[in-house]
Subunit: 123 residues, 4 copies
């Protein structure tokens, strides 16, 4: 049981139970959850707004703890959204990683931040 | 191995290997990753922009598949961000769920979307 | 003077003066300003997260006043960003409206929320 | 007439006419418009995701033109949102600038990106 504690599906199930106990499914329409997700991502962003790269790479312990909880919020709403849409998030992640592996072959993308659609098709 | 495939830590490790192989750590400063996270959350949002609640709850298979991959992008950047900040995302999620359980006792929050800071402290 | 008070250029100039007086141009790199813009848009979003369409169309005076100030923040950072990029926002807006008029002819888009790229080319 | 072309109110009125001609008011609920606003701000953000400060300050002409149109989208949806909420955006902007002037006196905020709520009250 404890070993499973960080699986996405275990978290998804806990969140579902939490919402049901509070009769919150009425609010958890996918549209609302997509808004909550974007709002929380915006809160993560806010912490980095005025930081240099150096500062962003060396957060104070206080800021780092705040960012950790904002990241948690993003994950929790992401899992709720996927649950409501009957999307298997882990499967989607594996699928996207396979797509990325095809889109960004090491030979073409090494050391470049170029978007796949603008990477040369040849050589 | 296969049974672990949906743990957050397994995904985190895969992403780290993927980035290292492409020499992408130079781009993956937390500031940039926070921007990528918010940008991808915005793309999830875009799919729901003009939908009614009814439509959002019954996506076409095509839209649902697109949303699944956008959700995957959110997760992948979230894991990269946490990796770079040395944040244990699963632990942060558990911590936040414990905080939410305290902030939103069933007795006070049942059937209400009220933010915890505006829930009455008493009865 | 007073008649010009709501022109975008007058606001842009005031913001520039405000920032210069505080020696803030060092923080106002376009990258940072884009982050601030998205963060503030996220704060607007937060107000609508759990609302029904009916509630969103009839905000309480208190919420409406808060949303007004969040909208102001979006505008202020948008103007700073454009100023730093030497973009004439009013001209860009007129250009975009002309593009929209071509993309969304009344005959094809009347009563439809369909994105232009998915509107039929014919009929 | 032409001299007024960059006032916020003139743009607001044009957008209202544009939407009415297409029978789009049915889609332009404030909730949807807040989502559109955040989505467009996310698109602005996307252009800066992997850029250094140096690159962000010297966009290529092509990227700059794209960013200008994304900024226009942000403004257009912001104006639609305010119109639907009966918010005078120019007045809100002036009000927020007055608040900022009080929150960030030059003596305390010069050369600092510190948020007002964390600026010392004394000194």
């Amino acid at each position: 049981m404890k070993k499973q504690a960080d699986t996405l599906d275990a978290l998804r199930a806990q969140l579902s139970t939490f919402a049901r106990a509070r009769d919150w499914d009425q609010f958890h329409n996918p549209k609302n959850l997509a808004m909550a997700l974007a709002g929380e991502a915006g809160e993560v962003l806010d912490h980095f707004r005025w930081l240099t790269f150096e500062q962003a790479g060396h957060l104070t312990p206080e800021t780092r703890a705040e960012v950790a909880l904002e990241c948690a919020d993003v994950l929790l709403f992401l899992l709720r959204l996927c649950d409501k849409l009957d999307i298997d998030l882990a499967a989607a992640a594996r699928k996207k990683m396979a797509i990325n592996a095809r889109r960004y072959p090491v030979s073409k993308s090494r050391g470049k931040a170029t978007k796949w659609s603008k990477l040369g098709r040849d050589g």
